[in-house]
Symmetry: D2
Subunit: 360 residues, 4 copies
Amino acid sequence: MKRIGMLTSGGDCQALNATMRGVAKGLYNTFEDVEVYGFLEGYKGLIYGNYVKMKPSDFSGILTKGGTILGSSRQPFKLIDEPTPEGLNKVEEMKKNYNKLKLDALVVLGGNGSQKTANRLSQEGLNVIGLPKTIDNDIWGTDMTFGFQSAVDVATQAIDCIHTTACSHNRVFIVEVMGHKVGWITLHAGIASGADIILIPEIPYDIAKVCEALDRRTKQGKGFSILAVAEGAISKEVAALPKKERKAAVAAAAAKYPSVAYEVADKIKEYSGMDIRVTVPGHTQRGGSPDSYDRVISSLFGAEAVELIKNKDFGKLVVMRNNEVTAIPMEESAGKLKYVSPDDSVVKYAKRLGISFGDE
Amino acid sequence: MKRIGMLTSGGDCQALNATMRGVAKGLYNTFEDVEVYGFLEGYKGLIYGNYVKMKPSDFSGILTKGGTILGSSRQPFKLIDEPTPEGLNKVEEMKKNYNKLKLDALVVLGGNGSQKTANRLSQEGLNVIGLPKTIDNDIWGTDMTFGFQSAVDVATQAIDCIHTTACSHNRVFIVEVMGHKVGWITLHAGIASGADIILIPEIPYDIAKVCEALDRRTKQGKGFSILAVAEGAISKEVAALPKKERKAAVAAAAAKYPSVAYEVADKIKEYSGMDIRVTVPGHTQRGGSPDSYDRVISSLFGAEAVELIKNKDFGKLVVMRNNEVTAIPMEESAGKLKYVSPDDSVVKYAKRLGISFGDE
Amino acid sequence: MKRIGMLTSGGDCQALNATMRGVAKGLYNTFEDVEVYGFLEGYKGLIYGNYVKMKPSDFSGILTKGGTILGSSRQPFKLIDEPTPEGLNKVEEMKKNYNKLKLDALVVLGGNGSQKTANRLSQEGLNVIGLPKTIDNDIWGTDMTFGFQSAVDVATQAIDCIHTTACSHNRVFIVEVMGHKVGWITLHAGIASGADIILIPEIPYDIAKVCEALDRRTKQGKGFSILAVAEGAISKEVAALPKKERKAAVAAAAAKYPSVAYEVADKIKEYSGMDIRVTVPGHTQRGGSPDSYDRVISSLFGAEAVELIKNKDFGKLVVMRNNEVTAIPMEESAGKLKYVSPDDSVVKYAKRLGISFGDE
Amino acid sequence: MKRIGMLTSGGDCQALNATMRGVAKGLYNTFEDVEVYGFLEGYKGLIYGNYVKMKPSDFSGILTKGGTILGSSRQPFKLIDEPTPEGLNKVEEMKKNYNKLKLDALVVLGGNGSQKTANRLSQEGLNVIGLPKTIDNDIWGTDMTFGFQSAVDVATQAIDCIHTTACSHNRVFIVEVMGHKVGWITLHAGIASGADIILIPEIPYDIAKVCEALDRRTKQGKGFSILAVAEGAISKEVAALPKKERKAAVAAAAAKYPSVAYEVADKIKEYSGMDIRVTVPGHTQRGGSPDSYDRVISSLFGAEAVELIKNKDFGKLVVMRNNEVTAIPMEESAGKLKYVSPDDSVVKYAKRLGISFGDE
């Protein structure tokens, strides 16, 4: 008899259910006798002992369903060593509930913060398996996270829609793309949608260079331009500031503008006089059905989690490396972010195609 | 020999090219000898004599293409009797260019403002045919405009995406939907996506009623809610003001908030303390490929325009009435808006389903 | 206290669940106290007393879900007066189960055959409401059935895909479109996808005319052509036969060819030597998520069913007429099919655009 | 001044235009002075000197467009050393036309056969760059070809549609998936769509095992099943035959059945009595717009082709390896097929999830 716990933590994304289905199908197919417990609303459910015993039918028909049937909540790592409002020690409560249910393993679907917490629980002696969830694709140690490609699809479709209007009206449009502190979604959606300019956090922009790139298009007789701007895009001046001043500058901009795209639009207008339209697809990028790519990798990730459980190979994060699904020790990844490198070949190729990153 | 001019005026939408293709296919198939002239960037092209002689192949492959291959510009009606910056009389220039090309007819794809101008040109003696273009579906005299259903699709998909996140995180989300001064897109996309609350300009909202509706859902054990809010939504208090004060209040809100959804979110928070997320799909709603519904009606509209040209039956606006494509005199429609009636059966049915309009 | 039964009968389609959700939402919102009983697998469930008592949560999240959560089966009308294999009288059993559950009304989601059965039950004294379900749009008395527009979408997308290949390789392609004995889906998907030739049952084709139309395209320098052919398409020769011979001829073709498209391809090849490719999207046309159009009308249909129940206005079929949802007596519709008329304006407009129906 | 030729050869697929746009954008952005020549209908255009001089605007707006703007034709390798109908030596004609245009390089977008021809031209001294085009993903030496992921999307959506019907009616459905002699599309679309059984050429099936797998589902109370069957699927008995007999057996089946899925359906019915429905999405799988994944990799592939041209590094095939775009000598790949290995980790993971391959 195996008893496996599962939880989804942090911002939701498109293939959470597909991944849980993968884990569950693998478990039911591998072990004669297995019970699956779903903790509700992420680590909260583990801390407070809120869970449901899942039936195989709970996982039927969820392969294509966005969101998470278990609910989610922001991961509690930053505050993990502060007591809960009720004065409970979070780690101890999680261990207690894990042990109370006599779990053989806990499977955690989560992003960076959530995996850091998972690693902590592993260090505390729980049998933990991590599954790399995030639209941002910023988990260190894996080439790909589930959710990323579906988010790229949504962002690309949004830019496609904007493209026809920009072109018909000879306008310059900024589409703001999600991605937290990294530029992966923007980079991919920008290339996929034929954006002319791509601004990402890892390559701070010089507004003069951005305006030059816009100008070049006008001189080539192209009446419209599309900028794909990451929600974390940052200017060279601000990026060059010492940490404290930089944080203050970012906070000041956040207070002034609804979001980064409006700031960039304002700067372009100030520098060049051009009128800029802004579209912010926002949370649509993390919702809806997973695409076929994400459904495949999340199914494989789920199956690998079951392999690890079968082999009692715990404390591992399931990853995709060089096109193969495998697993790495959790502590290798925990606490690190995977950034786009300005020297990354995708950036190099994008520049070869004439896409400006506003840096040169 | 027939010589037909064509132009697309006002904000772009999804089936402009499909409609022009319909007109062109119909013309080439009906008349032995026909020349089609496309004026560039809407009425501007007609005023300044900027046009291209179109070939049949120009209309190949554009059935599914968003935007307009002729370009568009805001219609100039408000200022039609003011001279151009160069001091030209706009109406006279348009007549001159129409006559210089010896046109047999001018086909105008446009929304309310553009059709008003078209009507004026008709009154000036030009042979004009209007085609009802707008995502807003607010043209008086037709049950349906092309672009509307495709915009409903995009808005519905956006709300679908938000739905999975709202549900996974137990959040309240507002999705702001386009539609200018009317609520058609919001009404349809709201029903199509299962929104819990729909706010449209024609039914001013009472924030207390909106919060009551949200409260009812909480009491039913539903942790999340979706509001579909029209970009023109207005509160009862503001709607009740005399025109001048109302305009001032709307302007003040527009200065304070990026858009209406943020205002509503603020009011809900103020009234009830609830945290509200906002998503504004914006211009994505008018871009991208037309759906199959729009491709059919735009093709039929184009064919009807050719029937009218064949019968020399000018000064007509092509419309859909009671599920049949037909035509009405332009002056019947010009200058009037088609609003959602609060007594409309669609509103009545939506209320029957438990959807709140924030009015009762 | 109200007790309402519901069943879905006949081939499944895209907005069955959306419609049931509409009925349920309307019921729960209208009556203080209401119980909903779902009969499983269509009339079978009513005959054999297989049902589930539904909870409000059963209708959550099904707005976008294809198929039917109740299951379906072919409607039993043809044999309704023959006993079941167990020797039971079907009508009596259905009445017995209706009465045993003390139902106030039975809501039947079904196509032509299923509505005929519903009418019979109404004549037997049960309180029945019909909802017009079918991708074929062939229910007499309603301008629109739910499922139709979503099926048009799928068929249109299939032809769109074929279009790029046909065009790249200069090939002639037939795409076979569903629709049973009528041509509605083919007519609409054919126009929406820019098909060059449309063959439907209501306009028998002359293969010589079809080949002439193909020839005209070649002469115009167009290297490829697309035929949208209804699964019920029929040639002039066969259509002209007396009923018995006609049935025999159709049966002979059915035995020889996998489906009608292959027969048409063969005839074209025989007549003109042209090589024809065939694609048959088949059942994909009735599956998947309903589009936004179908989700709206099915929600309205569901709400109207509740209006009728509230008003104890039974024996009615909910319909769409002249763009308004309303209801008609079931017996008006029962047993009649709504065909495309060769004089229908849509056909006339399609011909104006140069589309050949193979008849002239 | 650079003069670059380009051609698309073999069956069309979704990102041909996107790839050509990548090459062109890269060329125009890299070289001061460059002329691009497009040969029409694949190698035919090179043999007969049919080409167009391309303008930068020819590549505008084609990123999302399926098919190929240059047209394509089956590659002529098998017969490359036989003369043309006019008695011309194909290789010599291609060299002559290459030299007449003073080309600096020839870029060939094509699959296995076409790359074999490209390699031959390289060996004959032409400067050739290959780009790996095929929905089948069977080009040896690259992890990924452009077109593949988009084809997986279409096949997955088709199975999704079938899923709702299968589930509503408790039916067993076979969906036949493209892929020529290999099982890549079927494997990925099968996993992505939650197919219960996947049959691919590389893992010959035992009909008894297939029926056992169906039986297991019935015993688990699951009323429906989905089989994803590759167009090249083969039974153990036939696969075990010596080559000549095997070919004869395949040919006999091809004569008897419209396609492989019908043969499998027949065998299942014969073995177990079960009724099976068949859907064959066919050519829809290679048409339509490329998805965002394919648009990214095809853009990168195009950029890499330009790098190679810039570095005069010819005789290379652009490939994706370990998630990086790079290039390999053409002769390494030419003439080899990349098969799914029965020991491939994807197959292993799929089996872990309970998917049957009909082999054990």
